[in-house]
């Protein structure tokens, strides 16, 4: 078990570095000069050149890459060219907010999809099944930006139950939860719509298995059949799907953070990309890659929880 964990964590390193390397070169291949962007068109060229030299942008690309790699090994992520502040500080200042949002959305999506997928499966082709399918398709079809504004207009402006924007307080306080609900639900609904369809299909497939028929023939109540025999055996595809959904949640968070003025990594990343702030984009990419890999590691643990036949070592 421990060996497995160490092996997986070691595998993380080249993957995370690979992602950051792609970001490193992609950002530099895109046209644009980070120093000129922040200095403005009227700044004297010698002053602009001075800043380029300070950040090493005047060096050949491969030299810049080598320097960057050696910094990463030493745990240095460089300074933001736009603010002068260490990139690691700027990223970690906002990481918490993004994690709060994405993990909450993940949990909301999980609960909704399991609940609705199960309801749809046990009422196959009935009214509830059709209702769930309709809602799932609706959520899937709505752009996150529009959905967020609609939820805001109804539940924060017309009927002011929730605050409109901002983070409020720490996530374990009532004020924090109130601020979190609308952005989390906005981020969760499209994901929940898709996952609910998968849960339904998976449950229906398991329901047609011989051992389920045997359980029913023993006279077990349908509720017990579903919870004891069907649901657990349908979890593997759900875990896989939810793990795969996490990167999409990080992507969606960029838009939701903008709509709800949520102070997460999304808004920082957008500004950094537009300003060609290399240190920030690379550091953010490193963190997001690491989080996605950790989420997959978590999924692997969940496999073994769901199915004892799966051994992690």
């Amino acid at each position: 078990m421990l060996t497995y964990l160490i092996r997986r964590l070691l595998v993380m390193i080249p993957i995370v570095l690979g992602v950051a390397t792609i970001v490193f070169f992609a950002m530099r291949l895109a046209p644009g000069d980070p120093v000129r962007i922040i200095a403005g068109p009227q700044a004297p060229e010698d002053r602009v050149q001075e800043i380029r030299e300070k950040y090493g942008f005047d060096k050949p690309l491969i030299v810049q890459y080598t320097i960057w790699l050696s910094q990463i090994v030493r745990g240095e992520f460089g300074n933001s060219v736009a603010s002068g502040v260490p990139a690691i500080r700027m990223v970690t200042e906002r990481l918490g907010a993004t994690l709060e949002l994405t993990i909450s959305a993940f949990l909301v999506s999980l609960v909704l999809s399991v609940l609705l997928g199960t309801l749809a499966a046990v009422n196959q082709n009935g009214f509830i099944d059709n209702l769930v399918t309709f809602n799932a398709m609706l959520w899937l079809s709505m752009p996150g930006f529009w959905l967020g504004l609609m939820l805001m207009s109804v539940l924060a402006v017309a009927v002011p139950i929730f605050p409109i924007s901002g983070r409020g307080d720490a996530f374990w306080t009532w004020e924090g939860i109130r601020h979190l609900i609308l952005p989390a639900v906005t981020l969760a609904l499209p994901s929940a719509g898709a996952t609910a369809r998968i849960v339904r299909s998976s449950l229906l497939e398991t329901m047609s298995q011989d051992y389920v028929r045997t359980a029913r023939s023993k006279g077990l109540k349908e509720r017990l059949v579903v919870s004891k025999h069907v649901f657990r055996n349908s979890l593997i595809p759900l875990i896989t799907l939810m793990a795969l959904r996490l990167p999409a949640l990080f992507g969606g968070a960029v838009i939701v953070e903008s709509v709800f003025a949520w102070p997460g990594l999304g808004t920082l990343l957008i500004k950094a990309v537009f300003n060609r702030d290399y240190a920030i984009t690379q550091t953010t990419a490193l963190f997001i890659a690491a989080l996605v890999i950790l989420a997959n590691l978590l999924a692997d643990f969940m496999y073994s929880v769901a199915d004892p036949r799966i051994r992690l070592d």
Binding site: P31, N79, A82, S83, V157, I164, L268, N275, S304, V305
Partner: protein, 534 residues
Amino acid sequence: MVAKGSRAVIAVALVLSVLAFGTAVAQVTVTEDTLVTTWGGTDTLDTFRSALAAPLFVLGLVCDTLFAFDQNLQPQPVLVESWEQSDDEMTWSFALKEGITFHDGTPLNAAEIETYLEELFFPQSFTGWMFSNVEDVLVTGEYTFDFVLSAPVPLMIFNLAYPWNIIQPAGAYEEYGDAYGYDALVGTGPFVFEEWAAGEHVLLSRNPDYTHGPSFLENTGPAHFDQILIREIRESATIVNEFRVGDVNYIGIPTSHLDVVQGDPNVTAGVVTNYGSNYIEVNASGLFGSDWRMRAAVNHAFDREGYIQAGYFGAAQPSYGLVTPASFGYWPGMDEFGKKILYYDAEEAARLLDAAGWVLPAGKTVREKDGEPLSIKLITFNFWQTQGEILAAMLTEVGMDVELFAFEYGSFYGVLEEDDWDLFLAGWIDQSGFSTLQSLVTTAGIPKLTNVTGNSNAALDALVELMNTTPEPVVREQAAAAAQQKVVSDLFEIPTVLTLSYAGVIAEEVGGFELLNAHPWRLGLILALDMYRK
């Protein structure tokens, strides 16, 4: 293999370890004496690191310039008591107001000014080039100093009023190092920087010792509000919603959102004259550069009214000059003059193209010359993609084959370096009173990236130079007028529309909005000093 319970514990521990990041939340107590407003945020408040416009909003509340522009774009003293230019025009002498201290306790005196300007501002500021003729800052007394010049700078006080040219204590830069502008901002302004919670808000508190506001404001003493909370919200619809429920007192929004709030009886809304000057730039080294008839054809193919309706839903005005009322050198006669040249006439455009040798072969839709099609590349920013498509359609109507390339702002300088374009649909928001003409059309005296057309015209350079250096207001106005007439006649820059891009909207319970609404841009000093809770 470990026990099932242990696996669950590890899984929960993984979740909790990532959630542990989510504990730091900045809290602010909003009272009746708090003015709550919004901004789009920025990366730094240090003007030596960024020349972007976003920081100005906070800088204008915390820091002072020696002079500030009033609503008529005339520089008025803020930190300065008196000033004069020597007869030979080679020295400017200034006397500071006495008794002013920076927020960190550093006294504002001539020695502090000398240290700040010579050691920090001149070498590091992106606007330091404005003072390239200042050879020496000479301290002549505790509160008096001279600028000793290498050449006359008659408009020195205009340059000193430029909002990026703030005065800060040199010691604060030393104390905070790279974190200055992020963890700290020190000025002499009416509000003291308290904190900047990244992505959330900037909090400022009243400077009780402030007594040196410019005379064009009603209030020149301490601010009426105890604190200003500037929340970072980027999405306009969210800003409007926050305002409508009363959580924000003052907002700046695109004029297209005005109708949403104007129906509310509790709202005082006014359009702040934050002018956006929009134009088509012609690449002097491209297809249109050497032939005035080609540029005139583009001019006459452009239908301003149709463009405004289709591209701006009517929320813009036709533009006949580059310089807006918010910019130095504005000439009120420009509209009348420009209308004689800048008008839509597709038939005239076709005639001009015919005369230039680009004819429309029978049965074809694209003009040709010596067997080559009239294929052009139109570039613009991605946020003007729709407007670019409309312009492309207009040019197609007169027989041009238009390739539209829309790029995001970060690619701007890279695209310019490639120099692979014929027309550039561009724009400029005037919010500083700075000379648009100097930036956009001259090739002398300043870094050249702003005149992207590459058109070099000695007569035009001379006119703008005269406009910037003459001490005579009448001569200045004449030079500005002549320069603008020349710009429009040459057609390397073809003005398109004037956008009143932002509306300032204030809640009914807050007063002191009138001057802010009359000023060419949202000057922080007005916001800080004149606004009050009714």
